[in-house]
């Protein structure tokens, strides 16, 4: 009998019975839909580590191409208790709390500038973080009394963003990356940090990246202080900013 309670040391996909390992797959083979194509698809799925393979459908999607929807049960499992993910650990605050923290603990307005960088023209994400009206009922940074927030818009080249950061004495730089074809987002993010290092800005400024394909670990790897992905709310970013700023202040005092 299969267990009815989850065994975290033996985690498998769930279909309708614990640990049945059911997975649905969809892929295309560049051969004509045929009994041979069906067999090839089944064998491939077997090689991927699946058992009890069921071809739900084989469709002729174009001349010489067949698409499959297949169900299979995977043999593999994971020990969920061993999983570690780099996350933003700082506590989340409300807008009122953040304004209050800056006022009492920092005592000056924090200058935050941001843009959608490189040749990326998607402004909606960075606007959601900056604009008064904000995102999903959460007000944007421009609404905070203790942020001096400036959104430079889209297609701002890295060097121009940093020039502006110097000119406005930015404490925080926000970079939005939406297009991720050929990993252009990663290239641009790395380049921003390289440039910042050359201009001796890296230590002075908090660098934050965001976008639908951005994750916190990947942003850290590119040299940022944090990364935010799909569905980010402005107050989450604001919380990180104040916490990071204060922790830097504390470090400075120690030296």
């Amino acid at each position: 009998m299969k267990e009815t309670k989850v065994n975290l040391k033996h985690l498998k996909p769930y279909g309708d019975i614990m640990e049945d390992g059911t997975v649905q797959l969809c892929f295309t083979l560049s051969v004509e839909a045929s009994p041979e194509a069906r067999e090839a698809a089944t064998l491939l799925v077997q090689k991927m580590g699946f058992e009890q393979i069921k071809v739900a459908t084989m469709e002729k999607v174009a001349q010489g191409f067949s698409t499959f929807v297949i169900y299979g049960n995977t043999k593999h499992f994971l020990d969920f208790t061993k999983i570690k993910v780099l996350k933003i650990e700082s506590p989340k605050h409300s807008r009122e709390e953040i304004d209050d923290i800056i006022k009492t603990k920092i005592g000056k307005k924090l200058v935050v500038i941001g843009a959608c960088t490189g040749y990326d023209a998607h402004t909606v994400g960075i606007d959601a973080i900056f604009n008064m009206k904000g995102f999903a009922g959460d007000y944007g940074l421009e609404r905070y009394r203790w942020f001096d927030a400036k959104n430079l818009g889209a297609q701002v080249l890295n060097q121009d963003l940093l020039k502006k950061a110097v000119e406005l004495k930015a404490d925080v730089v926000l970079a939005s990356k939406v297009v991720s074809q050929h990993n252009i987002h990663i290239k641009d993010m790395r380049e921003l940090i390289e440039l910042a290092k050359k201009m001796h800005l890296r230590e002075k400024i908090i660098f934050i990246a965001g976008g639908p394909r951005v994750t916190h670990p990947m942003a850290l790897e590119c040299g940022f202080d944090a990364g935010f992905g799909v569905g980010t709310k402005p107050s989450e970013v604001a919380s990180f900013i104040v916490e990071e700023y204060i922790s830097r202040l504390k470090k400075q005092k120690r030296f």
């Binding site: 969809c26 892929f27 999607v61 698409t67 402004t123 606007d127 818009g153 889209a154 074809q181 799909v230």
Partner: protein, 185 residues
């Protein structure tokens, strides 16, 4: 240019959680059809509110197709389940085409069977959109096109007359500027 050569584009981009969003989308699509009866109309699928949930996304496209067939749009661009992910894969395109064929066949003559209430939600919304569009056009006329572009009148993007990509390459032509190649081309 004659009206039948003027292709006009519009899109179905409302928040899918908005109450009665299909009624409002029908209102806009029908209004566009009625205002430009002789022009081919290009109807574009939802993109902005697409998320990584490709199954929900596929359903949004089905409802978009339904609005399209109901209001007699000329050129129906097809939405992709994976809009929020990548440029569509072959199987994404196939799903979309199958979706559209199903709905365009199944509801082919529905528009001839129904009419909308005079003061109902659909007609009222069409009036409202039309009024706001007029105001927007008047604002553009008043400000001038370039100033309006700068003030994000189009797609909420600001582009100024004196900056932006490619501005480096813009030069002032001398009065006697001559480029023989243009003539040859």
């Amino acid at each position: 240019m004659t009206e039948d050569c003027m292709g006009l584009g519009h899109a179905q981009e409302m928040n899918p959680e908005h109450p009665n969003c299909f009624l409002l989308e029908i209102a806009r699509a029908q209004m566009t059809r009625d205002i430009f009866p002789n022009s081919p109309i290009k109807f574009m699928p939802p993109t902005r509110y697409k998320s990584g949930d490709i199954f929900y996304s596929h359903l949004m496209d089905a409802m978009f197709n339904f609005v399209g067939v109901l209001t007699g749009q000329t050129i129906q661009l097809l939405g992709m389940p994976t809009e929020a992910m990548h440029t569509p894969l072959l199987q994404d395109r196939w799903m979309s085409i199958k979706n559209a064929k199903y709905i365009f066949n199944g509801a082919r003559d529905l528009s001839q069977e129904i009419s909308f209430q005079q003061n109902g939600v659909i007609n009222t919304w069409a009036q409202k959109v039309l009024g706001e569009t007029l105001k927007h056009l008047e604002m553009i006329k008043h400000k001038g096109l370039f100033k309006a572009i700068e003030d994000r009148a189009f797609a909420e993007v600001s582009r100024t007359e004196t900056s932006g990509k490619g501005y480096d390459g813009v030069i002032k032509k001398h009065l006697q500027y001559l480029n023989p190649f243009f003539e040859i081309f």
